[in-house]
Symmetry: C2
Subunit: 172 residues, 2 copies
């Protein structure tokens, strides 16, 4: 199963592509960020995000698109602009015909690090462990995209796994 | 000059296409709504809105896309979902290469009815007068799309008009 995880943002959209069946044989395929220029109009930035996500969907043909749900910041304007970015990402996913999963930030942290209150460092540490990497994906937004993908892979596999199989960190 | 005005909404996106030079020879070309089903997932509804707007852009080839800016309602969730709809509409406009104008709701009311505090009825009355219609465009969301188009046509023409030419309601 291939999952494209996305942490949406107008300035910087992080993404991670992972492959595996459950968390036992999972590996990182690719991660990175789609950056847009702050001086460009919002419509132009949305087009860049949309085309970037489309390119990823075409190249990796994931089974799932996992996207971080809106984070309700104190600044409503920021949250609303983020909604615009999520809109074009969901559109790209719908056009590609992938299954779309949305997870609140806390659910992603819980899936990756065991608690919704995990710090960024804890999440990055667990990503590094789960994917057997030498260091955490950089920049941080890319790691957040990978985390969204992991949350989906674990969540999506739950129904397929009878009671016996343990869902958790990769055994050492 | 042809203007496509849009009042975005996830359930119902209103639109109006008007044609004219300033407000002296303006006419309504078409208006209507793009409705989506509440039981559909958000991504599917966004695709419907996107395809509806693309179809309008292709058919009318407007010079301007005029879109109502976000209305910050008390319900932040509503406002954020609206941001998703605006995102795919801005994307469609950017892809079509039209000039995009965004107006806050109060600016649209002011342009059409002279005051940002105008009621829906006042705005509909003025649209009917300005476009020499027998009755206000129906449903209300379509009228809001038309109002956005009128605000753009008036605003966009200001720089082209030297002091002499009067911008205002069509003379009786």
């Amino acid at each position: 199963m291939i999952v494209l995880g996305i942490d949406p943002g107008t300035a910087c959209t992080g993404y991670g592509v992972i492959q595996g069946e459950g968390m036992h044989a999972v590996s990182l395929v690719e991660c990175g960020v789609i950056r847009t220029k702050a001086r460009e109009p919002l419509a132009a930035r949305l087009l860049e995000i949309y085309e970037g996500v489309r390119e990823l969907l075409e190249r990796h043909r994931p089974d799932y698109l996992s996207i971080e749900d809106v984070f309700y910041s104190r600044n409503v304007r920021t949250t609303v602009v983020l909604g615009h970015a999520r809109g074009v990402i969901l559109l790209a996913g719908e056009q590609a015909g992938v299954s779309i999963s949305e997870f609140p930030p806390a659910a992603i942290k819980k899936a990756v690090a065991g608690t919704g209150a995990a710090t960024k460092e804890q999440v990055q540490f667990m990503i590094t462990r789960l994917l057997r990497l030498k260091s955490a994906p950089q920049p941080a937004d890319a790691a957040d995209g990978v985390a969204a993908a992991i949350a989906c892979l674990m969540g999506a596999n739950v129904p397929r796994m009878p009671a016996v199989r343990r869902i958790g960190p990769v055994p050492r």
